[in-house]
């Protein structure tokens, strides 16, 4: 093990915590940064709430249902398909 030469960085504040959230959720923080981030959350109800909101945002975004195709567009795609088959089979 290399000796830890890096000075212990200061605790993070809220404004920094909100910028680390995606890296945290993606598992991309270093162990040291993750520890600092979690230590901040443990003492900060607002950032804890903020993290819950980011998770809820992701979940709600995942629940968006695609706009269904209009009948016209669906017919266009069926035409596209039939045209392709006709071309292919004609070759």
């Amino acid at each position: 093990m290399l000796p830890k030469l890096r000075l212990r960085r200061r605790e993070i504040v809220c404004q920094q915590a909100v910028e680390l959230i995606t890296d945290y959720l993606e598992g991309a923080l270093s162990r040291a940064d993750r520890r600092r981030f979690e230590a901040h959350l443990a003492g900060c109800p607002h950032c804890t709430e903020y993290l819950a909101q980011m998770r809820a945002t992701i979940e709600l975004t995942g629940g968006i249902t695609a706009d269904d195709l209009t009948v016209q567009m669906q017919d266009d795609f069926i035409d596209l398909y039939r045209q392709w088959r006709a071309d292919r089979d004609g070759q």
């Binding site: 504040v13 809220c14 404004q15 920094q16 909100v18 910028e19 959230i21 995606t22 890296d23 993606e26 991309a28 607002h46 950032c47 709430e49 903020y50 819950a52 909101q53 980011m54 809820a56 945002t57 992701i58 709600l60 975004t61 995942g62 629940g63 968006i64 249902t65 695609a66 706009d67 269904d68 195709l69 567009m73 669906q74 266009d76 795609f77 069926i78 596209l80 398909y81 039939r82 392709w84 088959r85």
Partner: protein
């Protein structure tokens, strides 16, 4: 039936099943259109790009080797075509340069919350019906800068993995995370404005 995996639909399509084609198109059309719109000057051109992509899928179907997921393959074809068709100078904001996740005015001089997040998570379920909230989120996604919209659409709407997104968009993991962070942060703010108790 609509839950049938993409790979099975593709196999049926390869065997000449027209309905499998329509199911695949319906499943991916909205995301493809949204993605294509980031490259071209109008929705009409984006629709052409998507149609052209599906034609490319039909023509290239024998070449799909299953090394990536079907949708990664689809989106990659789409992005290649959209980039070729893209005549618009992309409004690409430098990736690390898109502003903070939360407006600076909400923190005090020491970086602590001055205007803390309004609570809304509990309300998200029952305050608004899902369709209305979904519509609001969709328009918020459409208003994101192009690259953020692409990443959010692929990751959070379509559910691609970060590796798949990087592969489709040809960006690094680090850039993908920055774009995702900006996009998600913006959507959170929209939801707070929509649902918070202000």
């Amino acid at each position: 039936m609509d839950q049938e995996p993409d790979a099975e639909l593709l196999a049926r399509l390869r065997a000449g099943d027209e309905r499998a084609f329509v199911t695949l198109v319906r499943r991916h059309h909205a995301a493809m259109l949204s993605l294509a719109a980031g490259y071209v000057p109008s929705m009409a051109v984006a629709e052409e790009v998507v149609q052209d992509t599906w034609l490319g899928v039909l023509r290239g179907i024998g070449g799909f080797e299953g090394r990536s997921s079907v949708r990664t393959w689809l989106f990659r074809i789409l992005v290649n075509r959209a980039r070729t068709a893209g005549v618009r100078e992309r409004r690409s904001v430098a990736i690390g340069d898109a502003g903070p996740a939360v407006d600076r005015s909400r923190f005090d001089a020491t970086g602590h919350w001055a205007v803390p997040p309004e609570r809304w998570v509990e309300e998200a379920d029952d305050r608004l019906d899902a369709a209305k909230l979904g519509g609001r989120l969709r328009s918020a996604i459409n208003e994101l800068p192009d690259r953020q919209r692409e990443v959010v659409t692929l990751r959070d709407v379509e559910g691609l993995s970060s590796e798949e997104v990087c592969s489709v968009l040809e960006i690094s993991e680090g850039n993908q995370r920055v774009l995702l962070h900006r996009g998600r942060s913006r959507l959170r703010q929209v939801l707070e404005t929509e649902l918070g108790r202000a």
